[in-house]
């Protein structure tokens, strides 16, 4: 068993290359096929134990599978959405050129993100994340407007600096290993973890802080989140969904890998403290910023920062139930945030603006995607019966078990504040009566379909997660050091 990893390694990449040559119609179909295939393969990996391929260079354990599923879910849903996505520019020549770049880039981006959890070793993980930066920066700039260029420049500059720090963290972790293994060894996870207990503690500590700072830049942790709202709001909608739903998760995955080693080497107290600090800052700041947004997609972007804060805080609790909650949260956030972005894309198409003061009566104008956007936003605000409710519930109860009641209280207050910001937006733009008699109707059925996928996943995660998935999450939490 291992062929499935190789398929994931090859297919999206091949599709990306092919998309450069074929007409848009075929590119769409291929992207859809590749997205669905990747998702199916990822789901098939759920019950499996650790799988390796290519003599150890590819390896997935339970932790990787969680993130692979998150990436594949958003990839599949985005592939559906992309069929309904139309290039804003008019003339057919430039539209064809745009689409070619767009689909090639989309698949390459998804490929790089799928690679990150699949490859074995900190160095390769870093390479994969660096590829995501490159591709996504170009995709953010693809609209070629002033604002998009500005967002892309900020993104590539800040994210590259962050990843430079991430590389430093990797190298320092390598140095920590070289005190145990000697000078030449591969940074495969099992090997590093096996020796981690003997690593010099101070070096590991430095490496972890640098890793959180470096990869945290890509994950959108305050105070190194500044690129995130710009890039999310200026990128084309499918790219925003991928950025928010998968890319942030993948960066979090990198931090978790460092967490794993660090916890093994110096005990979990220190990494928890670091994550707690970043998490509280992210949650608090994002919750406050949420209330003052005018741009629909920026609003969702800050909601992402908030949820990343929740993830970081969740990792700071020692109760196993909190870690299970964190991993579930990754999946639920991917599902909810991608459908919210799809809904935002639908609104943007319908109203021709992202400015929330000019959007009124969304629920009336968009008979399907309007209500579903409201549902997605409710999901993001941790309303039952959706997945985020379940995951945040687990995290908070983990915090109460820990017992770190104060932190749990901060978490609840922050999430509630964020909910206020989000619901204020919803009531203003969606639930108000329509001012102008705009026509009722959906821009595209595919957009609706993509949202249905996301919301269905979100509801399943919330109402009754499949047993194998729960088992997977428990195993992954075990790998992260949670005692059963």
């Amino acid at each position: 068993m291992g062929w499935d990893l190789i398929v994931i390694l090859i297919v999206p990449f091949a599709v990306s290359v092919i998309c450069w040559w074929v007409p848009t119609r075929i590119a769409r179909a291929l992207t859809l096929a590749s997205g669905v295939l990747t998702f199916v393969l990822a789901v098939l990996l759920v019950p499996a134990k650790t799988t390796t391929a290519l003599s150890g260079w590819l390896r997935v354990d339970a932790l990787s599978v969680v993130f692979l599923v998150a990436v594949a879910l958003v990839y599949g849903a985005t592939a559906v959405f992309a069929i309904g996505y139309v290039h804003p520019a008019g003339d057919p020549g430039s539209a064809a050129r745009y689409n070619r770049r767009f689909f090639a880039g989309l698949n390459l981006f998804a490929w790089a993100m799928a690679m990150a959890p699949v490859v074995n070793g900190l160095a390769l993980l870093w390479v994969a994340i660096e590829v995501t930066t490159v591709v996504s920066a170009l995709l953010v700039a693809i609209d070629d407007t002033d604002r998009a260029t500005e967002a892309a420049w900020k993104y590539v500059l800040i994210a590259s600096m962050g990843l430079g720090i991430g590389l430093l963290a990797t190298i320092i972790m390598y140095y920590a290993g070289s005190t145990v293994f000697g000078n030449a060894y591969e940074l495969f996870y099992p090997k590093v973890l096996s020796g981690a207990a003997r690593f010099p503690p101070e070096v590991v500590r430095l490496s972890f802080v640098l890793a959180v700072l470096g990869f945290g830049t890509k994950m959108g942790l305050v105070p190194v989140h500044t690129w995130l709202p710009d890039a999310h709001s200026e990128a084309p909608t499918p790219i925003s969904a991928l950025l928010s739903g998968s890319l942030l998760a993948v960066s979090f995955y990198a931090i978790l890998r460092f967490y794993q080693v660090t916890a093994r080497a110096i005990g979990p107290a220190f990494p928890r403290g670091v994550l707690l600090a970043f998490g509280v800052a992210s949650l608090a700041l994002a919750a406050l910023y949420l209330a003052s947004q005018r741009d629909l997609k920026r609003l969702l972007a800050y909601s992402s920062v908030e949820h990343m804060g929740v993830l970081a805080i969740g990792m700071s609790f020692s109760a196993p139930i909190a870690i299970v909650g964190v991993l579930l949260h990754v999946l639920a956030h991917a599902a909810a945030k991608s459908s919210a972005f799809f809904g935002a894309g639908s609104i943007t198409r319908k109203f021709g603006t992202k400015d929330m003061s000019r959007i009124r009566g969304g629920i009336g104008a968009l008979p399907w995607s309007g209500p579903m956007l409201v549902l997605a936003v409710l999901g993001l605000s941790a309303m039952p019966p959706f997945g985020i409710f379940r995951s945040e519930f687990l995290i908070v109860s983990g915090g109460l078990q820990d017992p770190r009641d104060a932190v749990a209280a901060v978490l609840v207050v922050g999430v509630t504040l964020a909910m206020l910001g989000l619901s204020w937006f919803t009531s203003r733009t969606m639930l108000t009566p329509s001012v102008e008699d705009s026509s009722r109707g959906e821009p595209s059925a595919w957009i609706v379909a993509s949202m249905v996928i996301g919301l269905a996943a979100l509801a399943i995660l919330g109402v009754h997660p499949p047993g194998q998935l729960s088992d997977l999450l428990t195993r992954a939490a075990g790998e992260l050091g949670a005692q059963r």
């Binding site: 930066t133 060894y185 709202p229």
Partner: protein, 224 residues
């Protein structure tokens, strides 16, 4: 600080001297007024890093480092500076890059940052023979000053050069920390640079094409 510091060995002394050259070049970049001279300084800095790689390879007999040094010479000393200077030539814009503060203020800020970097590294109880702590401190200082270069300058070239300088700092750190890097980390390394060239080159071009300037002063639309 109480005891008399021992005289360093020739190896660590030379490593530190080269690392010092790297840091001082970065200070010169901070001072440089012309984008063109910044690019030249970057080329010189990369040359120093290459020299460090060759030196470490020779003294520690790590043959693969020669390959790395060769690549880094080609990329950092030749390709990147020529790409950026061609861009500058094509841009035909005012090549004077802008300062937000006076030079002396910036240098003092950078000194403060370097001191911080030194103390962070100094607080690590790592005193192995293979790790010249001052060189690591210098590398940390290079990285921190690179951040200053990026944040205090408001033109595309300086910011890109600042990033490249950060990359050089990471190179120095990796050379002194882990001379026998596994090949995969080295590949990651070169990859990083290649990527940087491609993306930055492309974005600088796009940015210039759209804004008709290489200044980032105009980039203030996205806030909040």
């Amino acid at each position: 600080m109480a005891a008399v510091p021992a005289v360093p060995s020739i190896f660590s002394g030379s490593t530190e001297a080269i690392a010092l050259v790297v840091l001082l070049t970065e200070f010169a970049m901070l001072r440089a007024h012309l984008s063109r001279s910044q690019v030249r300084l970057y080329a010189f800095q990369s040359l120093a890093v290459t020299a460090l790689a060759v030196f470490v390879a020779a003294t520690k007999h790590v043959d693969q480092l020669y390959v790395l040094a060769g690549f880094s010479f080609v990329l950092k000393v030749v390709v990147v500076p020529s790409v950026v200077s061609r861009l500058l030539r094509d841009a035909r814009v005012d090549i004077a890059s802008s300062h937000r503060f006076g030079v002396a203020t910036m240098v003092l800020l950078a000194i403060a940052l370097s001191v911080f970097g030194f103390f962070v590294v100094g607080s690590l109880p790592v005193h192995s023979k293979s790790l010249p702590a001052p060189a690591l401190g210098l590398a940390a200082a290079v990285i921190l000053v690179a951040f200053l270069l990026v944040t205090l300058r408001s033109d595309v070239v300086s910011q890109a050069v600042g990033f490249f300088a950060l990359e050089n700092g990471v190179s120095v750190a990796s050379l002194v920390v882990a001379a026998g890097l596994p090949l995969i980390v080295e590949v990651a390394f070169l990859f990083d640079l290649l990527v940087a060239v491609v993306v930055f080159g492309l974005l600088m071009r796009i940015h210039h094409g759209r804004a008709r300037t290489l200044s980032t002063e105009a980039l203030d639309r996205l806030q909040g």
